[in-house]
């Protein structure tokens, strides 16, 4: 079962170029089929994990750990795989009509499949070097996808993104090399045991620092964020949705927290300085990126800065490091993935129908594009943490965690900038969707059906995660938070005993 998460999209990636020679439409069919199948697997995986029937460790080729490469499916992996595929499928559905403006449909789908394979692989891998390889698969696919349009701006931002992303990847590879030199093993669980036995040496701090910088570049933390707004702006909308919703979380947040919590076994009591650094980085991202977002005239760039600030919340939650804060951070991974995916797709739907991205040139779209407009409104409300939606609970838990840890200033900042989020999103809603009805002629039409289906799907998910937060917490988020808060269970689960 576990290898299928990687095999299915990989097979899709190689079949699509072959099959699309027969008939061009097969690229759409196969791509969406793979997306749907992966959603099925992810949901089944969560259910099976809750029922306790799924084998959590798969040894590739029958070579047992710590010698062989393993795939590990625990609750944290389940959460990450779930968001990857839940956002991936609507993005693929959206692509069917989005690609009308490009040639080379099969190339796009092939790359998208590789991206999915890489993301699922990062989440599943229980081997350090293997994780790096999957990070590179996902990253290289994303560089090519960002520049897919091959216009001047897209190439420029693609190159910028690629150089920064590759420096990050090389830093990760460097730290993997040093970790191997330090522990003589590549299996993460085995590594955790060796590191526990040896204690934290200066070398492990150096490795942690290198990794933190590498992963910060991948997740666009504030000092390293400059690739993200350009890349999101230039990428095709489904790719922006994947990048912002999933990519930075899997490659950045997930991989970092796996390494920090499960491999190094750090907790707040062991390494308060490191966790304070995370809190500082998180707050910096929240504050600076929100302030940058307010002044944007381009609604896609505004969303990109908003992503940087929302990732700040996740890192803040991880940095606070107690149970509720981590629950909040993981819930935010879930809710932000769905809502930011939704917002990117909706804003692209607006761009597609009106042909502009300037907030000042638009107005009163609600009358002509009701579905797009209302999904944008609901997504914005969820993003800024208005009560019945998913975003509310994640931010609430982070703030509860901060108060519990007696970190009142971070709690206040988190609350305050949540209001600011609502502020800059309302600016878009108000100007683009409701006022200035005279600014647009009635020529603007609602987007075609597959786009609307994708939007409605993500809106429904954002609502469902909010209204049904109890089951989501019990089945998905709480078990995943336990993996992080009790760091050594991971090694025990993988190696047994």
């Amino acid at each position: 079962m576990l290898p299928l998460f990687i095999i299915v999209p990989l097979c899709g990636a190689f079949l699509i170029p072959l099959l699309s020679r027969l008939w061009k439409g097969l690229a759409d069919v196969v791509g969406n089929l793979v997306g749907a199948v992966l959603v099925g697997f992810a949901v089944y995986g969560v259910a099976a994990l809750a029922g306790g029937s799924l084998p959590a460790v798969y040894a590739m080729g029958g070579w047992m750990p710590p010698v062989g490469i393993v795939l590990v499916y625990d609750s944290l992996t389940a959460l990450v795989v779930l968001i990857t595929n839940l956002v991936g499928f609507p993005a693929l559905l959206f692509s069917t009509r989005y690609l009308d403006q490009y040639t080379g449909r099969w190339k796009y789908y092939s790359l998208f499949m590789l991206l999915l394979a890489g993301l699922n692989g990062v989440a599943l891998s229980g081997d350090m070097f293997n994780m790096f390889v999957f990070i590179e698969i996902a990253a290289i696919a994303s560089y090519a996808l960002v520049a897919f349009g091959t216009r001047a701006e897209e190439l420029e931002s693609g190159f910028k993104y690629m150089v920064m992303g590759e420096v990050g990847s090389l830093l990760i590879l460097l730290s993997v090399a040093m970790l191997y030199a330090h522990t003589s093993t590549l299996n993460m669980a085995d590594m955790a045991r060796v590191l526990q036995a040896g204690g934290l040496t200066p070398l492990s701090w150096f490795v942690l620092a290198t990794m933190l910088v590498g992963f910060s570049i991948k997740m666009a933390m504030m000092p390293f964020h400059s690739w993200l707004p350009d890349a999101h702006l230039s990428a095709p909308a489904p790719v922006s949705a994947m990048l912002s919703g999933v990519f930075i979380k899997v490659l950045g947040v997930y991989a970092m927290s796996r390494v920090v919590f499960n491999v190094f076994g750090l907790t707040r009591s062991v390494a308060p300085q490191f966790f304070n650094l995370l809190v500082g980085l998180g707050l910096l991202s929240i504050i600076a990126a929100s302030l940058l977002a307010i002044n944007q005239k381009d609604y896609k760039r505004l969303l990109a800065y908003s992503t940087v600030s929302q990732v700040g919340y996740i890192v803040l939650g991880l940095g606070i490091g107690n149970y509720w804060a981590i629950v909040g951070a993981l819930f935010h991974v879930l809710s932000h993935a769905v809502t930011k995916g939704l917002l990117f797709l909706a804003s692209r739907s607006i761009e597609r129908q009106t042909g502009t991205r300037e907030i000042g040139n638009l107005g009163g779209l609600e009358r002509n594009m009701p579905v797009t407009s209302w999904s944008y409104v609901l997504g914005s409300l969820s993003m800024s943490g208005v009560p019945p939606f998913a975003g509310f609970f994640s931010k609430l838990f982070i703030i509860v965690g901060a108060v519990e840890a007696r970190m009142y200033w971070p709690a206040i900042v988190a609350g305050l900038f949540s209001v600011l989020t609502l502020g800059y999103l309302l600016k878009v809603i108000n100007n683009v969707l409701f006022v200035n009805r005279d600014r647009n002629s009635s020529l603007v039409r609602e987007a075609p059906a597959p786009i609307l289906v994708a939007l409605v799907m993500l809106t429904a998910l954002a609502l469902a995660f909010g209204l049904g937060f109890r089951p989501v917490l019990d089945w998905i988020v709480n078990p995943a938070a336990k993996v992080l808060t009790i760091p050594l269970t991971y090694a025990q689960m993988v190696l047994g005993g």
Binding site: V133, Y143, L155, F159, V167, A177, Y180, R301
Partner: protein, 112 residues
């Protein structure tokens, strides 16, 4: 210790080229330098003085082998490096077609 410091210096040299050079091709060369530094580090990690290549010709050999695992990892990372370098050069070519320059200070149509 010396080889490790040399690797780090090579890595920093590549980083210097990426951060401070203005020509895209030089940036790509800097990137390759960084990548070679990491690969070299891997090879040094597996190295052992006086050991032979890890090829088992008969059972019960008593000589020391060098660690074969980093060598396998280096092979993988060289292949990844090939892919990334190729993609970067492809970017460079397409950027030259659009902007008619390799100077990154002149490739600035995006702002903010």
């Amino acid at each position: 210790m010396v080889p490790f410091i040399a690797c780090l210096l090579l890595f920093l040299l590549g980083l210097y080229a990426i951060v401070l050079k203005r020509n895209i091709i030089k940036i790509i060369i800097g990137f390759s330098l960084m990548e070679y530094a990491v690969n070299l580090l891997f090879a040094f990690i597996g190295f052992k003085q006086g050991a032979i290549a890890p090829i088992i010709t008969r059972l019960g050999m008593t000589q020391d082998f060098v660690d074969p695992l980093p060598q396998a990892l280096v092979l993988t990372s060289i292949v990844i490096g090939l892919a990334t370098t190729a993609l970067m050069l492809a970017f460079a070519m397409r950027i030259y077609e659009k902007y008619h320059t390799f100077d990154i200070t002149e490739i600035r149509r995006l702002r903010g």
